[in-house]
């Protein structure tokens, strides 16, 4: 390797330490971590090299490296580390900083990663939704119109069109930020890959690689290799598929709302085209409820595992916990929204729904800056590694 002038970024070292990698400097480079890791490739394994790069504040080396995302934080390394340097936690902190680095505007990344901005970040959806409600005149319970059957109807509380505008808008913003981030990230990875890998990247279409990566994500193959935190395979899977189910539900609902005009199917079939709420017999309801329950159970297991493994794997950072909390609150409030509606407890139903909307806003709008972004960055890193033949199966 060519000689290079190294200039440590002291600020970056401090950022890693502040972001949950406070044990970073304890590493003395024995490489136990790389030996015990089940998900690292054999050639130039992680996380030993990432540890010294982080210690030395060499952030470009870390960011341009898909390895930080190939790590699934099994925490096997953290358990076996003889110095208590917690490589799993350190890489998690590095990933957080990577997300903040690639997702612009960067001040939003800083804000999402720092508890001091929490109130401000929540204030945005609260204000937006309150302004909407006040303009609709729905700030008092009695003023909220009821559904056709006289029951609680959230579609009457806030007509779909407004939510579509707000949430469509923030989703589009998030998507744009993520695409821009991925674009820069890919460019950096290519630049940092070295000649041999750069050549490999030019070979063949990306499509089969992407397909293979998606298959790997859907099967959670990498999570199964973890030893210490094996249970995460289940909990993460539940959360993951819960999300997918709810995403499909949301799209399905859009089809219902605008689709009956095209399909001309009456609400009497099992598919209830038209405005929500839909009866419990509707397949969209089955999927949505199943997704919500998966998310709830998965979220609960995530929290339980993290608490149980605190000693071994580390307690996790604010960045992790804010994300977990938001997802869990969304699951809980989502289910309560439905239950209070069915029970017709208006005094609870509307506030719970409001909270639900605030948290969903938080999740969507700040997705590129929060841990949510991991699903995109990790997937991209996996595609890159696969295509550059970095990610080789261990024998």
């Amino acid at each position: 390797m060519a000689e290079e002038v190294i200039s440590p970024d002291l600020g970056f070292v401090r950022d890693v330490i502040k972001s949950g990698g406070e044990s970073l400097k304890k590493c003395f480079q024995c490489a136990t971590c790389s030996v015990v890791c089940n998900v690292t490739p054999d050639n130039k394994p992680f996380p030993r090299k990432e540890m010294i790069h982080a210690q030395w504040g060499l952030k470009d080396k870390l960011f341009s490296n898909p390895d930080i995302w190939l790590c699934h934080q099994c925490s096997d390394c953290t358990v076996y580390c003889p110095r208590g340097a917690k490589p799993g936690e350190v890489l998690n902190a590095v990933r957080k900083l990577s997300i903040q680095h690639y997702s612009i505007p960067q001040f939003l990344g800083k804000a999402v990663g720092s508890p001091s901005y929490l109130v401000l970040l929540f204030a945005v959806p609260v204000v937006v939704l309150l302004l909407l409600l006040s303009s609709l005149g729905h700030l008092s319970l009695s003023a909220i119109p009821r559904g056709e059957d006289g029951g609680i109807s959230y579609a009457k509380f806030i007509p779909a069109i407004y939510l579509e505008i707000i949430y469509g808008g923030i989703s589009a913003f998030a998507a744009l930020v993520l695409v821009a981030g991925i674009f820069r990230y890919w460019k950096d990875m290519v630049a940092g890959a070295g000649e041999a890998r750069q050549k490999m990247l030019l070979k063949g279409s990306l499509i089969p690689t992407i397909t293979a990566t998606i298959a790997e994500i859907l099967t959670h193959k990498r999570f199964q290799k973890c030893d210490v935190t094996k249970a995460r395979y289940i909990s993460h899977m539940l959360v993951f598929y819960g999300f997918i189910a709810l995403a499909i539900t949301a799209l399905w609902a859009v089809v219902y709302l605008y689709g009956y005009e095209f399909f001309g199917i009456k609400a009497t079939s099992i598919f209830h085209f038209g405005e929500s709420p839909y009866p419990l017999t509707d397949p969209v309801k089955w999927l949505g409820n199943a997704g919500a329950i998966a998310l709830l159970i998965g979220g609960y297991l995530v929290i339980k595992d993290r608490v149980n493994n605190k000693e071994k794997a580390g307690r996790g950072s604010y960045f992790d916990w804010i994300f977990i909390t938001v997802v869990f609150v969304i699951a809980v409030t989502g289910i309560l929204t439905e239950l209070t509606r069915l029970a017709d407890i208006a005094i609870l139903a509307y506030p719970v729904y409001f909270v639900h909307l605030v948290f969903v806003f938080f999740l969507f709008a700040y997705a590129p800056f929060s841990k949510m972004a991991h699903m995109i960055y990790r997937a991209v890193a996996m595609v890159f590694a696969k295509h550059a033949e970095r990610e080789v199966e261990r024998g």
């Binding site: 000689e3 290079e4 190294i6 003395f28 010294i52 030395w56």
Partner: protein
């Protein structure tokens, strides 16, 4: 007074069950012992009373106890008389050989006979007492080690002379800005403790301090060292009993490590200079007084490198971590790089290392610093290979600090060999570097012999403080590279050794390893041929020479190893209780059965320090070995006189095996060169064997340490097998 020998044979510990005690009594009687008795348990009170009764009523004044090894129960069998000999029937015979066996019995009988003959040839030693013994301790060097030794000796009630070359006390440690932590939690730097120690010693009435002074001459020996000190042109003399040499070290000359640019670039400094920079307050670099915001510490600079300093100086890792903290404490935005080869922070230092490591601004990596160059801003580019970051890296820094190692002042000169000895010779009796530290009046040279890298020779494992000059104890970093707490411990130990030496010399006793031995060598000068063998071969320089090359023996310098006894071709050197004649008589009286009996005989000359204990250990572990060997303990393998081999072979003994300590580079010999000398002498035996038309393989030497006792059966059995191959000694009968 007429010697009246009493032989007491114990039958306890399986001796009575395994041997025919009556036959042993007969052997003893036949060997002309006037009193021969047996007892069921000599080491019990009844047994002791039994012997003491004979001493009182029958006038027995020389006791031979045929029981257990002389290495056990020596306190029990202390009868208050000098002539007590132990015949090792337990460990040496019944525990290592089949019971009620003809060969075992013959072995025991030989040992009883040899024990009695030994006693017959023995005289009661009387201690050598010097006149005008001085109990003062001379300490050479006023650094941490010297001051500590002086304080400790004074505290123990001894008057101390402390001689320091420089005009102030404290040595290198006085130049430290701070010292690495010695107390929990091992995170905070401490004020160098030397300041208090200097104050303490300056107020001590028992310590006379000579600064700006050099030792001009030290004559005499332990207890009677006559010292001449020169201070500002004036000369002063006094007598001291023992010497602590704590002359310290100097930094390795960093200009020799050319690729690191010291001397070429102003901003490359040594760790010693770094202390000065830190002591001045704001740490600025030499070239332009710019605050130092980035520093590279180059550890092992020229150290552990055969081209420069081949060893580790033991202190640099910690000192560099400490200096890194100087910078980091002063400039929070500074970057401190530490390039190490192996981070060596033993013991509690590990906590300090962890603390420094945990600082965000410290950048550590293993690596080899290949070169330092200067850029146009007088900044330094450091090239490092084999790093943990990747292969090669380069950093640009304001200042580079080289952790150059330490060189003991005993190494500052040319190595000189004794006359007639060339470098590369198989045996080099001693290596001398004339450094002007002690200026001893010894025939072998003015300083203590050095072993490796100019450090004083000593048995590093067993007696680290001992130099090869009795009564002179090296302490601190002149003895071996060491840190502050180790130096304090070392100097305290050396002071105690010096005091011990003075007290034992006062009683006429030897110091280690034959501690308490009151015998000393006697030279029958009429027959001396001035061959200089004894004066050259004495490992401790105990024997001076007059202008006619006559040996001048200094009993207080002597460690009673009897290497001179082995060396002397005229056999004029003897001890009251250890002589050529005595061992020779034992050798000649081993019963050698005629050839047709097919009972070969071999003599094992076993060094008392390790080989003989190993034989005992074999016994304690009930390891069985050949019954045809006869073990004769020697004070040191080097005390073996070739005449014994000639005596044995002409008597018909089939072979001789010498069991000695490891010799050579990592020698284990308690007398430094004894086992090597034995080996050299044996190589000369071949000539004698040729004259006798015998196979040279009949005389061999094996090296063994006490922990290798399990090898004893194999060594002895294999040797006997080899002798069988040679066939019987034709001189039998």
């Amino acid at each position: 007074m007429e010697k009246k020998i009493g032989v007491y044979i114990c039958s306890d510990c399986e001796i009575g069950k395994s041997l025919n005690i009556d036959s042993l009594v007969k052997v003893a009687t036949k060997t002309k012992a006037p009193v021969v008795k047996t007892h069921p348990a000599l080491c019990q009170k009844e047994g002791m009373d039994f012997i003491k009764n004979d001493m009182a009523t029958e006038g027995v004044n020389a006791v031979v106890i045929a029981a257990c090894s002389p290495r056990v129960n020596y306190d029990v069998f202390n009868l208050g008389i000098p002539l007590v000999e132990r015949v090792n029937l337990r460990e040496g015979v019944v525990w290592t050989h089949p019971p009620n066996n003809e060969d075992t019995q013959m072995m025991a009988e030989d040992y009883v006979r040899m024990g009695i003959l030994k006693m017959q040839k023995m005289e009661a030693p009387e201690p050598y007492k010097v006149e005008n013994l001085s109990k003062n301790v001379l300490i050479v060097g006023g650094g941490l080690a010297g001051i500590t030794a002086a304080n400790e000796a004074a505290k123990a009630g001894y008057d101390v002379f402390l001689v320091e070359k420089n005009d102030s006390l404290g040595g290198w440690m006085a130049k430290l800005y701070k010292q690495a932590p010695t107390e929990p939690p091992y995170t905070d730097l401490e004020e160098p403790l030397i300041k208090d120690l200097i104050k303490e010693i300056q107020q001590n009435q028992k310590v006379k301090i000579y600064t700006s002074s050099m030792i001009e001459k030290i004559e005499g020996g332990p207890g009677v060292y006559d010292v001449v000190v020169r201070q500002d042109g004036k000369v002063e003399s006094f007598r001291a009993g023992a010497v602590v040499m704590a002359a310290g070290t100097i930094p390795y000359d960093a200009t020799k490590i050319e690729h690191l640019g010291f001397g070429k670039y102003p901003n490359v400094v040594t760790n010693y200079m770094m202390e000065e920079l830190a002591s001045k307050g704001a740490i600025v670099r030499p070239s332009d007084s710019k605050p130092v915001k980035s520093v590279a510490f180059v550890l092992c600079a020229g150290q552990r490198d055969e081209n420069y300093l081949p060893y580790c100086s033991a202190t640099c890792c910690i000192e560099s971590l400490k200096q890194a903290k100087y910078i980091r404490d002063q400039y929070p935005d500074s970057k401190v790089y530490i390039f190490y080869r192996d981070m060596r922070t033993p013991g509690h230092y590990e906590y300090f290392y962890k603390g420094i490591q945990n600082d965000a601004g410290i950048f550590l990596t293993k690596g080899d610093v290949k070169g330092i160059t200067e850029d146009e801003n007088k900044n330094l580019n450091i090239d490092i290979e084999n790093t943990l970051i990747g292969e090669k890296i380069k950093v640009n820094v304001d200042l580079a600090v080289l952790a150059t190692g330490i060189v003991p002042v005993t190494a500052l000169g040319e190595e000189e060999l004794p006359p007639g000895v060339k470098p590369g010779d198989e045996f080099i009796p001693y290596v001398m570097i004339e450094t002007d530290i002690l200026n001893l009046g010894y025939r072998q040279g003015g300083e203590v012999p050095v072993l490796i890298n100019g450090y004083p020779d000593s048995n590093f494992i067993c007696f680290p403080y001992e130099t090869r000059r009795t009564g002179i104890y090296a302490a601190g970093s002149v003895r071996a590279p060491m840190d502050i707490p180790s130096t304090i411990e070392d100097a305290t130990g050396a002071a105690l050794k010096a005091i011990q030496c003075i007290e034992m010399t006062g009683r006429g006793e030897a110091v280690h390893p034959r501690a308490g031995d009151i015998s000393y060598a006697d030279f029958f000068m009429q027959k001396c041929t001035q061959c200089k063998r004894c004066t050259e071969e004495c490992p401790f320089g105990a024997i001076n020479e007059d202008e006619k090359a006559n040996p001048l023996y200094n009993p207080t310098r002597c460690r009673r190893c009897a290497i001179c006894l082995g060396a002397c071709p005229e056999r004029i050197i003897s001890f009251k209780n250890y002589s050529v004649d005595m061992i020779g008589t034992m050798v000649k009286n081993i019963e050698v059965p005629p050839e047709e009996d097919e009972k070969p005989r071999a003599i094992v000359f076993a060094c008392e320090n390790d080989a003989y204990p190993a034989l005992d250990m074999a016994g304690i572990n009930r390891l069985q070995y050949n019954s045809f060997v006869r073990v004769i303990p020697l004070r040191c393998a080097g005390s073996m006189n070739l005449v014994w081999i000639a005596d044995a072979l002409s008597k018909g003994v089939d072979g001789i095996l010498i069991l000695g300590c490891q010799y050579g580079e990592d020698y284990q010999c308690h007398m430094a060169t004894g086992s090597h000398l034995a080996k050299i002498r044996l190589s000369k035996v071949a000539e004698t064997l040729d004259r006798l038309r015998l196979e040279s393989g009949r005389v061999q030497m094996e090296q063994i340490s006490i922990s290798e006792y399990y090898k004893i059966p194999d060594i002895l059995n294999n040797f006997m097998k080899k002798l069988e191959e040679f066939g019987p000694n034709p001189y039998k009968g």
